[in-house]
């Protein structure tokens, strides 16, 4: 979904407490934010928490956005940071990973969970990547973001992202090859 009108103008309205403007910003970006968080965290509940935390930060920091990047890039950068924070906390206080469950009252839940599922061998191979390679592959290949935007989100030069994507794919190929070897 693309934002109607000027994104930066919408954020200005968010600063003045315009709930409708904030809802528009959320609707335009919540799916991708959730997808990025889910790929990084690998857990649906944590991804939902991270998505909420991301937009809380977006609302609270909206006045600080000065338009030096696209609104989406700024939001996804917050999302990646939020996920890093969650991962850091999880390392200190490990919690049991519960399988995704289908809420029987939610008709779209089953389809939503199915949409998130990667083939098991790809999930395993992706999880085995070093975090900086994995995040580059997630943004560039899974989410299809242009490399300059992925670089801006990750806060590294474009050349670094290119290298991480290349090496991430190479490691994935090795992992996938090892998984299929008899």
């Amino acid at each position: 979904m693309t934002l109607p009108g000027n994104e930066a103008e919408l954020l200005t309205r968010v600063v003045s407490g315009d709930r409708q403007a904030f809802d528009q910003v959320m609707l335009a970006h919540e799916d991708r934010v959730f997808s990025v968080c889910l790929r990084i965290l690998g857990d649906r509940e944590k991804a939902l928490d991270a998505t909420q935390d991301t937009f809380l930060t977006v609302f609270r920091k909206a006045e600080q956005f000065q338009g030096r990047s696209a609104v989406g890039t700024w939001i996804y950068r917050i999302a990646v940071n939020t996920c890093y924070d969650q991962l850091r906390r999880a390392r200190r206080r490990p919690t049991e990973h519960l399988p995704d469950h289908v809420d029987p009252s939610d008709p779209s839940a089953e389809e939503a969970i199915a949409s998130a599922a990667l083939r098991p061998e790809i999930e395993t191979a992706l999880a085995a990547l070093p975090p900086d390679f994995r995040n580059a592959v997630i943004l560039a290949d899974l989410e299809g973001l242009p490399l300059p935007e992925a670089a801006e989100i990750l806060g590294v030069p474009v050349g670094t992202v290119k290298s991480r994507v290349f090496r991430g794919r190479r490691l994935l190929a090795q992992h996938l090859g090892n998984q299929t070897d008899p």
Binding site: G17, D31, S35, E63, S105, D106, A112, I113, S115
Partner: protein, 243 residues
């Protein structure tokens, strides 16, 4: 393999090259390059076929509901701070800076740094400036403005909440003196954040939860001046410097 070759092969694999001539020639002329290219295309075919994950309708509704519940419970800091409150912080800042200048001038008379007055003047201008764009955890948009932004962000962050940074800083120093301080495992996010803030020779010694999550950062060199820096994780900004 040269970095240029890596770029070409990766770009050829994901179809992002306008002119593929050079890349094709490379892949055709070099066995290793050809192997790398095949690996890249095979992996891309597997992972790019996966659709984007999405929330269910109920999850989205719950997200919006919970978000607004949270925002109503703890109102966001928007541009609605009363003018008299903003100027009272500026006045307090002026008072501090004037005092600082006085102390530094005294130090100068007894052999202190000549540049301290300039630093104080810069701090004054930073306090008067509105808070600028917060620096995200992994990087900001304009590295050259990092210093002014973080100082302005520090002032803004401390305006609304009375947080016990001074006490926490004293605790951190005490633990280091006692030898009971342990460094937390670093990760690429915090390392890049510290580098971004110019805290290269520093380490994360603790992580605390107050109104939000803060990294407690101290110099790696235990013999150096034990300045304790509190960094907000959400936007990689210096919230408070003690010492």
């Amino acid at each position: 393999m040269h970095e240029h070759d890596v770029d070409l092969i990766a770009a050829l694999a994901d179809g992002s090259l306008g002119d593929e001539t050079e890349a094709r020639a490379l892949v055709d002329s070099c066995d290793i390059c050809h192997t790398e290219y095949l690996e890249q295309t095979e992996v891309l075919a597997l992972i790019s076929a996966a659709p984007s994950a999405r929330m269910s309708d109920l999850e989205k509704a719950a997200l919006h509901r919970d978000l607004w519940t949270e925002l109503r419970r703890a109102p966001a800091r928007t541009g609605s701070t009363p003018w008299w409150q903003r100027w009272s912080y500026v006045a307090a800042g002026l008072f501090v800076v004037v005092g600082l200048v006085g102390v530094l001038n005294l130090a100068q008379d007894t052999g202190g740094e000549a540049s301290d007055t300039t630093i104080a003047a810069e701090a004054l201008s930073d306090l008067e400036a509105p808070a600028e764009e917060g620096v995200p955890f992994v990087a900001g948009e304009d590295g050259a403005e990092g210093g002014a932004e973080t100082t302005a962000t520090t002032a803004a962050a401390e305006q609304t909440l009375d947080l016990p940074f001074a006490g926490l800083a004293d605790e951190a120093r005490a633990r280091r003196d006692e030898g009971t301080m342990s460094t937390l495992d670093s990760d690429e996010g915090s390392e890049e954040c510290l580098a971004r803030l110019g805290l290269d020779e520093h380490e994360v010694v603790d992580e605390i939860e107050l109104d939000q999550t803060y990294l407690v950062v101290m110099p790696v060199d235990a013999q150096a001046e034990q300045v304790v820096t509190f960094v907000t994780i959400a936007d990689c900004a210096i919230a408070h410097v003690d010492g």
